[in-house]
């Protein structure tokens, strides 16, 4: 190629001024950043500055093997807006606050009840550095307390709270996992309502408890799901992969460990804007504990008992949800996905229909074993 050498020369000619121009470019080393691990957002006591942000920061140590004790720094600040609070926080730290590694956002319980979730969400989504895959949860009594608490047996550099939500940590049937993007779509869509786990800090015992959840219903006080309902929600939404369910019926009392959950639902539309919620759940597992002695040949009988019990649980849960008008499972979206958009009923009609919907539940239980003993 004859143009080759000339090209190289031209390239150099262009490159030299550019490099000199860039002499003062932004070059910031990793040790000049401080990483935020958890963001806590609370309601403050100050009227003018209603938001209070608490940040949990990782303290970098040269070797995690030499200092196994977890070390964190905390920053806290009130502000009229969230950005203002963060701006103030930045002046407290000698290093740049780096939000890209924060994995958990805790919203204080009080703030949640103030109906300001959409404002918070706007802030969280607008910032490009906050991960869409960070978990979002409610802190009880306040976000600050949860953020500042270090639980027993916590490893350095990895807050214990993350393990609760992560698939590779604990697999509790009571923990609802909600990612930020999931929260956003549930909040902005009509047919599905957001569910947020509640993190309770037990100060004396130095550990967290996550076994309840809030359902956020449009323009209404958030509804708190009890542990039992939280578990039911997790099973029905297939959020949990294993679950223990106890059955007490016909003189039998046993606990079944379910290791395969499969749940489907659909909305069946009937005349006069009536709907039927059709649920089909299959649970496969084994019996892990029993009051009485069990017989292997009666396994199908136990399954029937278990099915009846499950049906009761699920019906209770659904009825309750319908009563308060909450739709955490997304029946509304399912309805939308079945009917052409111009033939759908209006939002009010749907709400009415949902409240009076018929429930048709089917549970297929399959207990495969009575465990090691009969």
């Amino acid at each position: 190629m004859p143009d080759k050498q000339k090209n190289t020369k031209l390239f150099l000619l262009l490159l030299v001024p550019i490099i000199t121009l860039l002499a003062g470019c932004e070059f910031k080393d990793i040790d000049k950043n401080v990483f935020v691990s958890i963001i806590g957002i609370d309601k403050s006591d100050d009227e003018d500055k209603p938001y209070k942000i608490t940040l949990k920061l990782y303290v970098p140590t040269s070797s995690f093997k030499q200092s196994p004790e977890p070390e964190y720094a905390y920053l806290s600040q009130n502000g009229e807006t969230l950005s203002e609070a963060i701006r103030m926080l930045e002046s407290y730290s000698d290093k740049e606050l780096e939000f890209g590694h924060s994995k958990l956002i805790v919203i204080g319980e009080e703030l949640l009840k103030e109906q300001k979730v959409s404002e918070i969400l706007d802030f969280l989504l607008r910032r490009p550095d906050i991960q869409m895959i960070s978990w979002i949860a409610v802190g009880r009594p306040s976000a600050e307390e949860i953020v500042k608490m270090v639980s027993q047996g916590e490893n350095a550099a990895y807050p214990a709270l993350f393990n609760y939500f992560e698939d590779i940590g604990t697999e509790s049937q009571y923990i609802v996992t909600t990612f930020l993007f999931d929260f956003r779509r549930r909040l902005t869509e009509d047919g599905i309502d957001p569910v947020l786990p509640i993190i309770e800090g037990k100060k004396k015992k130095k550990h967290f408890e996550i076994n309840k959840a809030y359902v956020l219903v449009n323009k209404k006080e958030p509804y708190e799901l009890s542990s039992l309902y939280t578990q039911t929600f997790n099973i029905l939404s297939m959020n949990a992969s294993v679950a223990d369910l106890s059955t007490k019926r016909e003189g039998q009392q046993f606990v079944a460990r379910i290791d395969s959950i499969n749940s489907k639902f659909k909305v069946i539309v009937k005349k006069n804007n009536k709907i039927e919620l059709d649920m089909d759940t299959s649970l496969v597992g084994y019996i892990s504990e029993s009051k009485n002695q069990l017989k292997t040949e009666d396994l199908s009988y136990y399954s029937r008992l278990f099915e009846a019990e499950g049906e009761k649980f699920f019906t209770d849960f659904l009825t309750e949800m319908m009563n308060i008008g909450a739709d955490p499972l997304g029946f509304g979206v399912d309805y939308n996905s079945r009917i052409l958009h111009n033939k759908r009923m209006s939002a009010e009609e749907w709400n009415e229909a949902y409240k009076n919907a018929e429930i048709k539940l089917k549970v297929h239980a399959d207990l495969k074993s009575t465990g090691i003993i009969q």
């Binding site: 000339k6 262009l14 550019i18 860039l22 470019c25 993007f181 779509r185 297939m238 009917i339």
Partner: protein
């Protein structure tokens, strides 16, 4: 067909997943995007077939070569210049979009000019390469970037968090009239084939292009369109999807890789897509540069024995791009891309008519020679 031909089509299709195309489609999610997509898939495939068949009939000939033989000079020069401009803008849009993405997500502190010049400098000298070498580059870079891109799409499809109900909900808006903006954006995905205007000089042998090739392209493009539009909806819901400025970036940020050194898919996605954007700009600007050569006979301009002519367009390319990088904001870019896509619908319908005209002229010329 030669595999290089598919690269040309594929790059254009995939490069626009991250650009303004999904944003435009999602903007009109309640005004007929779905039907526009279906319509575009059909018309696009037909368009690809027509263009490929046409250039197959004249192996090794570029469009300017053919025009020179069949049209008058007053038409030829301005028309080729217009083509050069169109291709330049196509590259420019990709460039600005990507510079915006990088400043938003990867290096927020860096000045936009610096980011822009990184991309421009890496691409610009490639535009002067021979067409053959451009295609080899495309092949290698594609081979590096594609597997990971496919993997990310796979991750997206298999994610638990992909809610198919939203997708179905969105698909049920099919019974609307297609709208021009969505249609233009979709059709742009299919326009990779028009790069044959120049790259046909590489395909000197007659290729076989049968219905199964056309069907393959149709299937691939439909899948790309489907992914482009429906996956963000599956992750972010349907009702307010239009509030996302970068739907695909948000979507890639919603996918998680638990066991990898990089946890956020977002960065992998952007950095690997940078490769595809690089190729897209390379192709478009190379074609544009070649058109300019045809108009101004740049290779004949010499200075002290060296052909300096071919590098004359470079300062203009760089200058204009940097100017637009500084001046445009996200909304303007979005609008300009939209207008550009819309205008291409008419532009290429006219060119299709022109192609039939050329074909007839060429046939007459050939018959005249035979007698």
């Amino acid at each position: 067909m030669s595999r290089y031909y598919y690269y040309l089509i594929l790059i254009n299709m995939v490069a626009n997943v991250i650009a303004s195309v999904p944003a435009i489609l999602l903007q009109f999610h309640k005004q007929g995007s779905v039907s526009s997509m279906i319509l575009a898939a059909i018309i696009g495939t037909i368009l690809i077939t027509i263009y490929t068949r046409f250039f197959n009939a004249f192996p090794g000939m570029t469009l300017p070569d053919l025009l020179k033989k069949t049209t008058a000079k007053w038409f030829y020069n301005p028309f080729i210049l217009l083509l050069a401009l169109v291709w330049f803008i196509a590259g420019l849009i990709t460039l600005v979009t990507f510079a915006f993405l990088l400043i938003r997500f990867v290096t927020p502190e860096m000045p936009i000019i610096q980011i822009g010049s990184t991309i421009i400098l890496s691409v610009i000298f490639g535009c002067l390469m021979r067409s053959e070498r451009v295609l080899y580059t495309i092949e290698l870079v594609t081979l590096i970037t594609f597997p990971l891109t496919i993997f990310i799409f796979y991750k997206a499809y298999t994610s638990d968090n992909l809610n198919w109900d939203f997708v179905k909900d969105a698909a049920l808006y099919v019974n609307q009239m297609p709208n021009l903006n969505s249609f233009g954006a979709c059709l742009f995905l299919f326009l990779g084939v028009v790069n044959l205007f120049i790259f046909n000089r590489f395909f000197t042998e007659k290729q076989s292009f049968k219905w199964k090739h056309a069907a393959l392209i149709g299937v691939i493009s439909t899948m790309t369109l489907f992914t482009t539009y429906f996956i963000p909806i599956g992750f972010h819901g349907f009702e307010n999807i239009d509030e996302l400025v970068y739907p695909w970036i948000s979507t890639s940020d919603s996918i998680r890789m638990e066991f990898f050194i990089i946890e956020r898919v977002l960065f992998v996605f952007i950095l690997f897509y940078l490769g595809i954007a690089f190729l897209s700009i390379l192709i478009h600007w190379h074609v544009s540069m070649e058109f300019l050569k045809f108009v101004f006979h740049l290779e004949k301009i010499k200075f002290r024995g060296l052909t300096v002519g071919t590098v004359i367009p470079l300062p203009f390319f760089i200058g204009i791009s940097l100017y637009f990088l500084r001046e445009l904001n996200e909304y303007q870019l979005f609008r300009i891309s939209g207008l550009f896509y819309d205008s291409l619908i008419f532009f290429f319908s006219l060119i299709t008519i022109l192609l039939f005209f050329i074909k007839r002229r060429m046939k007459n010329a050939r018959q005249a020679k035979e007698y």
